[in-house]
């Protein structure tokens, strides 16, 4: 009998209309950059140039911050909460209406599988705007006092792993609380943020309430360090987060940081084994492992090590790596050449340190940036691949014998963003959840997100929370 080979099932690109070049979105209009050079954004799956994007220099950032300040003082700050809410509801609806287009655009620019951008990213983006829209006229119930006030102008810098979702996590609560925004998307994934700028126009959002400045680190630095920014929100690497924390020292700026992680995903011998394997796979291979809360350290109880590893490898053999726009793709492209180089380098370190590397047979496309799903066994706490965030589809497997040892190993890291627990024993789940020093603990599940659910880290994974009432508090002065 012949094999059941899935024929290519490509999502159509026709739905997106990418312009050849984009300006900066300042004060409600796309404008030419005054002091930066344009740069190209490419599809990481093919290296095809998608568009040319403007780099905002300090003068452009200043212009954007001024526009945001004006909008804050004249329009958005004085506006009744119920009207801010209506704008946010409009935006949420427009995102739903343009969901497929945004999903395709996200997959094109980021490299993530269309299944994820379509079923996870974009629905969550709309849900975030819906959730925070409802807060805009209820701020006095948010736990920040009877008369909570916005900070003013929020400078927000987001990463490339969930471009539009991170934008939503930043902009929705900021606007609900009455702040205005200057946001810088990542330089490799600016297109959905620019599409969002169009959505702001379609929603008739007053000019200056949302400003999008594209660019790289220099642009982000100019934004974070701008003296008229009141609130800084950053998601990205711990190294950059640290630099931001230093740069705002001595100012009045409020800061929230959502940084790196090296989550332990802990499997006990009584785990629901098949769902656990799915959870491990989802934990590390979701979004190519470009997830700050990825379950990148698998801690397996020694008594079930062989079984778990055997089943995991078998499952990994069924993962489909390839064209992000193919609806059957499980693992798409690595976002950039630089990220691919980093993953390769750390994987090489893993081998050099004596860990055993395994990947299923999989054919990788010739063009673009690709890395196969990979598991390292024989990893110990001392190995770099057990300590450093790889931010790719690379899993390090360690073992433990007792719950206390699992906790000790899980917590033995400067990070503290997330953790996973797999066991059928309820009291153990609660004990483990208590002991783990991490901001999000998934028990018998992994990588679940919801606008009502606060997300953020302990220790060097940053501070502040995004999502839920707590996420709103971060945008209210108190």
């Amino acid at each position: 009998m012949s094999r059941f080979e899935y024929a290519p099932a490509l999502e159509s690109r026709a739905i997106v209309d990418i312009k050849s070049s984009y300006g900066l979105f300042i004060n409600g209009a796309f404008t030419e950059a005054t002091d930066g050079k344009p740069f190209k954004t490419i599809s990481p799956a093919s290296e095809e140039v998608l568009a040319e994007v403007s780099e905002a220099g300090p003068a452009d950032v200043d212009k954007a911050v001024r526009a945001a300040r004006r909008a804050f003082d004249k329009v958005w700050g004085p506006m009744a909460g119920r009207d801010r809410a209506k704008y946010l509801y409009r935006i949420a609806r427009l995102i739903q209406e343009r969901a497929r287009e945004l999903a395709v655009l996200e997959s094109l620019d980021n490299g993530k599988p269309i299944r994820e951008s379509r079923d996870v990213d974009i629905p969550l983006v709309a849900a975030h705007f819906f959730y925070y829209a409802g807060w805009a006229d209820k701020l006095e119930y948010a736990g920040a006092g009877d008369d909570p006030q916005p900070w003013g102008v929020a400078g927000q810098v987001i990463p490339w792993n969930f471009p539009l979702l991170m934008l939503a996590w930043k902009i929705a609560p900021a606007l609900a609380a009455g702040n205005t925004v200057v946001l810088k998307p990542a330089e490799t994934t600016p297109l959905t943020a620019l599409a969002f700028a169009e959505i702001c126009q379609q929603a008739d959002l007053p000019p200056g309430v949302v400003n999008i400045v594209t660019g790289a680190g220099r642009t982000g630095q100019a934004l974070v360090e701008h003296p008229d920014v009141n609130k800084v929100a950053f998601t990205g690497s711990t190294a950059v987060g640290r630099a931001i924390a230093k740069s705002v020292a001595g100012t009045d700026k409020a800061v929230t940081l959502e940084l790196g992680g090296k989550a332990a995903n802990i499997v006990f011998e009584d785990a629901p084994i098949d769902q656990t394997i799915e959870g491990i796979v989802n934990g590390i291979f979701f979004n190519q492992g470009h997830v700050c809360c990825a379950g990148s350290r698998l801690l397996v109880q020694e008594s079930v090590y062989d079984e778990v590893l055997g089943r995991l490898k078998r499952r990994m053999e069924s993962l489909r790596v390839g064209d992000p726009l193919d609806k059957n793709t499980d693992i798409g492209a690595i976002n950039s050449a630089a990220q691919l180089a980093k993953i390769r380098e750390l994987s090489q370190v893993g081998e050099d340190e004596g860990s055993e590397r395994w990947s299923p047979e999989c054919e990788l496309p010739a063009q673009g940036f690709w890395f196969p799903p990979t598991v390292f066994t024989g990893v110990s706490q001392a190995h770099r691949i057990a300590r450093e965030e790889i931010f790719g589809p690379v899993l390090s497997v360690l073992t433990f014998r007792t719950p206390a040892e699992a906790v000790e190993k899980a917590n033995n890291t400067p990070f503290g963003l997330s953790a996973g627990i797999w066991t059928e024993k309820g009291s153990r789940i609660l004990w483990m959840a208590n002991q783990l020093r991490a901001g999000v603990v998934w028990a018998n599940t992994f990588n679940r997100f919801d606008p009502t659910s606060p997300f953020g880290g302990y220790k060097e994974s940053g501070y502040g929370r995004e999502g839920g009432r707590h996420g709103l508090e971060a945008y209210l002065a108190h």
Partner: protein
Amino acid sequence: MPTKDGARLEVRKTYKLYIGGAFPRSESGRAYAVNNTKGKFLANASQASRKDARDAVVAARKAFGGWSGKTAYNRGQILYRIAEVMEGRHEQFSAEVAASEGLSISKARAAVDASIDRWVWYAGWADKLAQIVGSSNPVAGPYFDFSLPEATGIVAVLAPQESSLLGLTSVIAPAIVSGNTVVAVSSFERPLPAITLGEVMATSDLPGGVVNLLTGSASEIGPWLASHMDVNAIDLCGISDPDEARDLEAASAENLKRVRRPAVEDWSESPGLSRMTQYLELKTVWHPIGV
């Protein structure tokens, strides 16, 4: 000096540091003269060094698991016990505050009253905080999802320079009530009430190491605490120089400490939640709901 009329010669108190539940002198062997506001010698205080700070952080880390792991009810009882024991030492605190701050004895007594009442206020928060700042999150899926506050870890406190007891109480109590442990540097010029407070703590069932009190210079010890990689948060309220505060904040960024910037504070006002929530982490837990 012998007494002329045969009255009893007083036993003077030696003020030492309070680290890990014990009262050591500074490892540096240093002490400094503490005067009242009119310049009259009151006592010698130990002048804590960076190594004392290091030892205090070790003691605070050692105490953290046990303290944060206690039931909130138990922590509340212990904070209340601190208030009870302070009440018994009211006169001593009043005399020290009066001498340290140059207050009339009646104003000093009022400050001690307020300090004791503040411990009582915070004691009551121990088992209510999670209900106020935690949440149950109605996620769009078959999951039970809740968020609970947890102590951040070790909080370094550079205590207020002016308000020697009420200010100190107002910065330590909100940190420990939720399970944090503290390394505090007292007011440099007004350290005596701090050490007496340590003596109260040592006899109030507060486990050793939960609060560690260093007398000495915040400017000298602060940078070591700010850059210490095992300190999770820092309160800079005792630093008045903006440049110094900026440098301490920048040093604190190294391990992403939660930083409380200096601000104008009126310690007699109702404190609100912000000093407690400053040193809390929020943990969100998900679990599927199924049969």
